[in-house]
Amino acid sequence: MSDNLDLKKGLNIPIEGAPAREVVATVVPDTVAIKPTDFKGFVPRLLVKEGDAVLAGSPVMADKQRPGILLTSPVSGTVQQVLRGEKRKLLAVVVKASDKQEYVNFGAKAPQSADETKDLLLKSGLWGAVIERPYGVMASLETAPKAIFISSFSTAPLAADTDFTLADSLQDIQAGVNALAKIAPVHMSVRKDVYSSTIFHKVENVVEHVVSGPHPAGNVGIQISHISPIMKGETVWTISPVLLAAFGKLINTGKLDLTRKVAITGPAAQKPAYITALPGTPVKDLVKVQGDVRIIGGDVLTGENLGQEGFLGFFEDQVTLLPEGREREWFGWAKPFRPKVHSSSWCYFSWLTPSKKYKMDTNLHGGPRAFVETKCFEDVTPMEIFPIYLIKACLAGDIEKMEKFGIYEVLPEDLALCDYVDPSKNEIQAIIQKGIDLMIKEMA
């Protein structure tokens, strides 16, 4: 069974540095970090101390309120360091990898019931891979989701192409889907333009949706809002295809193996291509950068600034290298032509060169202002909501209005393009996140 979802609104940001479809290196890291900050709603309690030996799949942290929820080590080795930030906030547990990798054996057996699936997710540390909506937090133990949604592809700028990275993972994905289907019906979206060639349309036991359109058509939140909008009191779960494959591999082999193909992308990348790496790998082992370059874990719209000393995140299968844009352009806004700057607005002439890719940087291209032009938000938000009303409700902290205007259906990533297009340079994603945090606090 399948249905079509053709989205028109949105924007593909024409940025330079798309990855070539080849794996150019395999990174075997010396150390790997487990970052509790990757997981929203997770309050860490340390289970190991420096010097402890761990296997790939051994728990290193548990949730304070929900002790069943574990974070596990992706490698075997010894705990080298516990990194803490301000107020002793736990930032990461760094494990020094041993030469020979040893794995916890979870048993290569397909779960036969919802409880067995949940149990395996919890034990292996993959519970954190499941994201619960509304609010985009780590799934809670008690809720029964009405459905589980998987977007098999990403439309984000320069995103890793799952058709390439997961081309050999059909069996793992199928095993993962079968297990999750014990909990709730699984919906999977498939890209229309590669429908006949992609492995994802061969996946069984799912409700299939064929999706086309510019970014954010690949965002699972956008798809959910068209397939089965989240109303008050409902919850759905989502999981990324990369982590779904890891879960399937766990079922098929009994081992926790989070190895994935990571796309190294962006205008500052020497040779944009894929490498094989583990989450938690130090940035220094992944990329070499020269000059004033920002290292982003994820894509340019929603990614996290990892910094030179950071570690690849649990969810990330992309690193974007973006030059910092501290240079000041004379009469930028007044020039008739600015060939180096992209604008989706027709006030500039980027529309003359629709296939041109731009060497973008981090410059804000303006100063913060009050909202003036707001139609641009609707043009990049393919949902049946009024973005500006939701944004204003979040700013005002008005719970009732946030509910009415669709706070249950969005995560900041779904409105990330609003950040990009806004001539008033407001931080839309931050505003939405603030609204969501308020909802979590008030609704608890």
Binding site: M231, R328, F331, C347, L364, H365, A416
Partner: protein, 384 residues
Amino acid sequence: MAENTKPGLFEKGGKLYWLHSTIDAFDTFLRVPGTVTAKGAHVRDGIDLKRVMIMVVIALVPAALFGMYNVGLQTSTLYGLDWGFWHMFWYGLLRMLPLFVVSYAVGLIIEFASSQIRGEEVNEGYLVTGFLIPLIVPVDVPLWMLALAVAFSVIFVKEVFGGTGMNIWNPALVARAFLFFSYPSSMSGSDVWVSKTWVGALKDVDAISAATPLAIAHDGAYDAATGAVGQYSFMDMFWGFIPGSTGETSVVAILIGALILVWTGVASWKIMVSSVAGGLLVGWLGQLAGATALPCWYQLVMGGFLFGSVFMATDPVTAAQTETGKWIYGFLIGALAVVVRLWNPGYMEGMMLAILLMNTFAPLIDHCVVTAKVNRRAKKALNA
């Protein structure tokens, strides 16, 4: 230049830090700020409000240039002077220049001072407002009146609400309304629409009246056989060779501006189209009902109807925000403006008040549109 003024003195902690809004305004006017993204999306579109606002000013330029020529033309015609094209244009330019200077000087001083008080960057919104105001007032308006109107409108309509983006009414129109209600003798009637300040004094002629086509039509002087209103033919009105506010007379010049605004996406074509539709419909009904002999399309070429529809009603801050709301908002503006024109014994132009009234109701229109959609969607989800 800007490099020397930026560091030290005007930086946080510097002696003249309190002036930073003003310095930043000039600095960022010359060079794009070097600010990099701190949170949210790491890359941003090249567009900013300066660019948006300058697009509106560019769109206004054809109307302004034609208006200057027309100021000279009307004076030359009224007094029977034999001026050439450039003479007319220069006369108009020199007559308009003080209006622009006063409008920008007064407005920008208040704008800078307010930004300074709020500690924010200076907003570009006044670039447009300051250009619009001279185009919608009589060219002979005393400069002190203009200064007063600008001050009133910028302070009480914009700054008290929090500056550009926060205002409810279009500031340029409120400046005009302020003049209209405070100094009606300088703002209406048949004597104000042609410049005679300099020529009149030189030639020592008694005031000659030069009524606008709108006023002539109001008195019923429409010739159905030739299609002329008084001495003005339809084509005169279309090209703009008629008395009126500087910017409003030429349909052609305004349409060029409309094209720029619609093409760049700065203004909503939905508002323009629906406003014209509303005006035509009521104009047609009025003709059927016998309120006027004029065919409905005359409503578009006379007075400030088109200028208001294109440049004033579409102000993104004061207009309706929802797409459905824009249709309703624009339609009601056009319809109301013509209702005032046709069924009002005293005052023959309704555009200004129609827009200001609909500015007031725009949030209500949006509220209804949004609520209806939210309810419809909730119902659909329940049934699904």
